[in-house]
Symmetry: C2
Subunit: 248 residues, 2 copies
Amino acid sequence: MQSVPSHRHVIAADIRTQISTGRIKAGERLPSEARLASQYTVSTAMLRSALAVLQGEGLIEKIHGKGNFVHHPRRIVTYVGGGRRAKPESPAESALRISVRTTSLPAQGQLIGLLRVSADSPLTEYFCLSHEGNSPHSSARIYVPRDLSPTDAPDESSCFNCIETQLAELRPPLSEVRERVTTRRPTPEEAATLRISSTLAVLAITRVAADSTGRVVEAAFLVLPGDRADAVFTTHHMIGERGGEDDG
Amino acid sequence: MQSVPSHRHVIAADIRTQISTGRIKAGERLPSEARLASQYTVSTAMLRSALAVLQGEGLIEKIHGKGNFVHHPRRIVTYVGGGRRAKPESPAESALRISVRTTSLPAQGQLIGLLRVSADSPLTEYFCLSHEGNSPHSSARIYVPRDLSPTDAPDESSCFNCIETQLAELRPPLSEVRERVTTRRPTPEEAATLRISSTLAVLAITRVAADSTGRVVEAAFLVLPGDRADAVFTTHHMIGERGGEDDG
DNA sequence: GAGTGGTCTAGACCACGAG
DNA sequence: TCGTGGTCTAGACCACTCA
């Protein structure tokens, strides 16, 4: 158990404090690594490993050739499970800009099992990418059997956790939404798409929704960066729903 | 991105292949770092950073003074949300040995808000640690108002996701179970307790359960290592429940 | 004490970004 | 071209495990 508190964690803690106390502000560039290394009288390698700790926490962003930057205070966006819409009251939610790319493809691999369709049956893929300001926030790949997919482009404002909402308007209500949550490192593509460090873990949610006939109407793969997203699942509706949540 | 495929990832991929193809078997020790470094003709520092990649994936376990060991094929244990019991049919579940430590403490910090009790009101903490064979698997800290906590020791076999199950026997059924899922790095204590790398992300679940009167009867903090656990949340019971899940 | 991993140094050289 | 971060080396020294 870490009987040696290792220099890098001391340095990381110091920089972390400087960030949280506002001595280094959001968006600002840190001194160069060489400079910081001499300040702390360590080698650049050690200083870099200290920064790697902060990077894994999503506190800083490293940009090759430019410098290390303090991330803007990550607004925690909460994904609401169970096929329910996040309340629009959430200001963070409304600040998300979502782009959708629609493609067609035949069912392959795990999609066959998840959607319970036969191989090569036609599917529609919606690749949703949400942005918070300039920077990408999270991504989702949603697969729907072709005959169920709306002919017109999906409503962008309600793409993220709500393809099933759209479908609900057309079909009988969903009887089951099953969501499997895992955590892992992002793939190189995901890290590039979401512009996150490959050392920052993501929440990966696999969602399968079925209607009352048991037919699977949607399979979705969501990727949420661990530093700026969480997920909430609630069973049994509450009688008097509350607003503020104080889980600090 | 990643125009330079960096040597360490090549080495990591090579060792990963050797593990997955069985050339190095589970539980076995890898050659020493110095030996591997000379095999790949890299410095020990680079070789160590390659191993760090595998460590972050939960593939290997580093033991100071002994060596690097291939993890036993991690049995994925699924946490079932919504206050529902995991089906006992699951072989992995039955292989879990759970120890419980009970302590009393006054309500403090976020517990006050989560449990909706006044400060310093008496609580009972159940610290549950599940083991799979010799090694710890996951941990849970469960807090229950003193007047609701069973006087006798909790049923060890049903500790993990089911303090509420015990309570359900005594009280009206739960009206709401709310679970917030996040991912983060383990704290040093958690890393030590669960014997995982501090670079391996964990799933952290905060669970709050209320009974039909709206009273919060339980707050729980679960920590599941990301390489050997996932969580499933299902809404609306299915008519014909299925057993096998093929999501590979 | 021999062998292991853990920390750390003081560099070299390469790749990227901006002027 | 210059300053930045990214990769990597060839060591030294320390801490842990086990015989």
